[in-house]
């Protein structure tokens, strides 16, 4: 009973040898991934990682702090436009542009967080929705943002552009490694943060803001901090996204995108970093790849596509992605409110007690 415990165990990144082993194995897998899969598929993984960063940030706000945002496409847009424009007009190196764009996005997050001090639930949803729409329209109207025509991203230069110190990264595979490093870093940082003082304050606000305040948590600081942090993640994700797709316009960042982001977090599991990672991966796969795979099914594929064209859509396009998305959402909300993270926890329990 009176053993001297090492309390660092409680907050360690890898809570056990098993976790460490699988984490390292997973990282090795990720870093060698381009060796096993065709390079045109790497594009999908790049999108997935961008969404992972965004979903982790959104989960900090929604899942951990209990605030809602229907405007994250707006922060995503600020990151995408900010990074590209800083590189085009100020010729900044990529990483510097990315961080500055992230900080600009964080600043907007802070501003949006201010009304959140008074607004709750549906009212906050409307306010953030308004923000997302506003950003989309402002961008569409100003020529410096490329207007409705959109903009193409410049070469991804990690060094000083047009100088001997230029270091241009080209091709999906190289971009993959860049994004992978940033993603791992940001996921680990989020996880650390959520296990320490700031994360606990967020959770306290989510579960009982009056009790949090009575225990000394400054609601103004921590609520706006959560918005700013979440917006920073969205901004960085947006900045990377621009270089993955290499072209975007204002309509890329529409309301549906904000909703899909929320779906990732809800499906993955509110208040869990791992959940956000899983949710972003699944939803992105469904959106970008499912349709193609369904079409390639022998016999069934053609029938399903016809069925979808005929019955499931208004504009005559097959849309399994959206239908599957809707059904999964329904299923999660009804059967597993903890999302994929909840399923994961149950699986772990099952294997621990197996074969009993």
């Amino acid at each position: 009973m009176d053993m001297k415990r090492d309390y660092y165990e409680d907050i360690e990144l890898f809570s056990s040898g098993t976790v460490l082993f699988w984490s390292v194995a997973f990282l090795v897998f990720l870093f060698t991934l381009p060796l096993y899969i065709p390079s045109y598929n790497i594009y999908l993984f790049n999108i997935i990682m961008v969404h992972v960063i965004l979903a982790v940030g959104l989960n900090i706000l929604v899942g951990y702090t209990g605030q809602i945002s229907l405007g994250h496409a707006g922060f995503f847009a600020i990151g995408a436009y900010g990074t590209a424009l800083l590189m085009i007009h100020l010729h900044l190196p990529f990483l510097m542009a990315l961080i500055i764009a992230g900080l600009i996005s964080a600043f907007f997050g802070f501003i949006i967080g201010l009304p959140a001090l008074r607004l709750e639930g549906p009212y906050l949803a409307i306010a953030t929705l308004g923000f997302g729409l506003t950003i989309m329209h402002i961008i569409g109207h100003w020529d410096i943002f490329g207007g409705r025509m959109g903009i193409s991203t410049p070469p991804l230069d990690l060094g000083l552009q047009n100088s001997p110190y230029s270091f241009v990264i080209e091709g999906d595979v190289k971009i993959y490694y860049l994004i992978l490093v940033i993603t791992v870093l940001m996921v680990v940082c989020a996880r650390n943060l959520m296990r320490t003082r700031v994360g606990r304050a967020f959770v306290a606000i989510r579960d009982d803001d009056i009790a949090a305040e009575v225990m000394g948590v400054n609601l103004t600081i921590f609520k706006t901090m959560s918005f700013a942090l979440s917006a920073f993640y969205a901004g960085v994700a947006g900045g990377l996204y621009g270089f993955v797709v290499s072209f975007f316009d204002p309509f890329t960042f529409n309301l549906i995108l904000s909703i899909v982001f929320l779906v990732m977090v809800v499906v993955g599991g509110l208040g869990s970093i791992l959940g956000a990672v899983m949710g972003a991966t699944l939803i992105t796969y469904l959106q970008f790849d499912l349709l193609k795979n369904v079409e390639e099914l022998p016999y069934m594929g053609e029938i399903l596509v016809q069925f979808s064209r005929k019955w499931l859509t208004v504009i005559g396009l097959a849309n399994f992605g959206s239908v599957a998305l809707g059904l999964i959402m329904l299923g999660i909300v009804i059967f597993e409110p903890l999302g994929m993270f909840g399923i994961w926890i149950r699986m772990k329990k099952y294997w621990k007690t197996w074969p009993f």
Partner: protein, 257 residues
């Protein structure tokens, strides 16, 4: 100078005077109880002390400093902690995390420090470990060892009351406000609680304000007692005197028979 005092405290809700002109002084490291029938304004007094309600008259003075007008989190930093009548814990967090939130004001880690907690010797990890040790003493003290890593929402009522007490203790308050801590507990739990409250007073050197309906406990452990009815003071004195007051007998002690 009184350690803690309340002067002419009053508040109205929609024209109804919930608390009217209440004053009392509390000696350092003593137990001061507030009794009165339901709806008499006891919890409202706590809410004014902790800054949740802003009184429309009067002062709340801790070590010479007026608390009225400060936000609840600032009042917590001045050293006033509390528990709630209907338990207000962070339900989807573990017991340990709830208690650690009690250390919030004693810790400094911000976004950068928290995010970049690289390894055991980083400043953040050291601060974390130091505070976890402090909290672990409270876990031992309140015998919460067995539920340490459980989610609060899964605990029985009596345990949750204790976690809330532990969370307030973790803040290392100068003044601790306990709002009906024994409500919903069985006799055995109540006996334990009574001993713990005494221990807290002695070991942790805390001044305790207690709202409690269990007259055995109140009369047994209080140094002084304030009895109120409909927001107005009836009597404020030592237990033996309060016990004799006809209104108190009518309200409490009589009906027990």
């Amino acid at each position: 100078m009184a350690h803690f005092k309340v002067e002419n405290l009053g508040i109205s809700f929609g024209g109804i005077r919930a608390v009217d002109n209440v004053s009392f002084e509390v000696k350092k490291n003593s137990i001061f109880s507030i009794i009165g029938p339901n709806g008499s304004g006891k919890t409202t007094i706590f809410n004014m002390i902790s800054g949740i309600y802003k009184p429309d008259s009067g002062r709340v003075v801790l070590e010479g400093e007026d608390m009225v007008g400060l936000r609840p989190d600032m009042i917590a930093r001045k050293g006033i902690a509390r528990t709630f009548q209907n338990i207000q814990l962070f339900g989807n967090a573990t017991v340990m995390d709830n208690l650690m939130l009690g250390r919030h004001i004693h810790m400094k880690t911000g976004i950068i420090g928290g995010a970049f907690m690289w390894g055991k010797w980083s400043g953040t990890a050291r601060e974390e470990v130091k505070n976890r040790e402090i909290v672990e003493h409270i876990v031992d003290f309140l015998e919460l060892q067995s539920v340490r890593d459980q989610f609060v929402s899964s605990l029985p009522y009596g345990k949750r009351k204790l976690v809330e007490l532990g969370r307030a203790l973790a803040l290392e308050p100068k003044v601790l406000l306990l709002d009906e801590p024994s409500a919903g507990m069985n006799t055995e739990e109540k006996d334990d609680l009574r001993i713990w409250i005494k221990d807290i007073q002695e070991d942790y050197q805390v001044t305790i304000l207690l709202i409690e309906h269990d007259m055995n406990m109140v009369m047994g452990i209080s140094d002084r007692i304030l009895a109120i009815n409909q927001g107005v003071e009836i009597i404020e004195d030592v237990p033996s005197e309060v016990q004799k007051h006809p209104d108190v007998i009518a309200a409490y002690l009589g009906e027990e028979e």
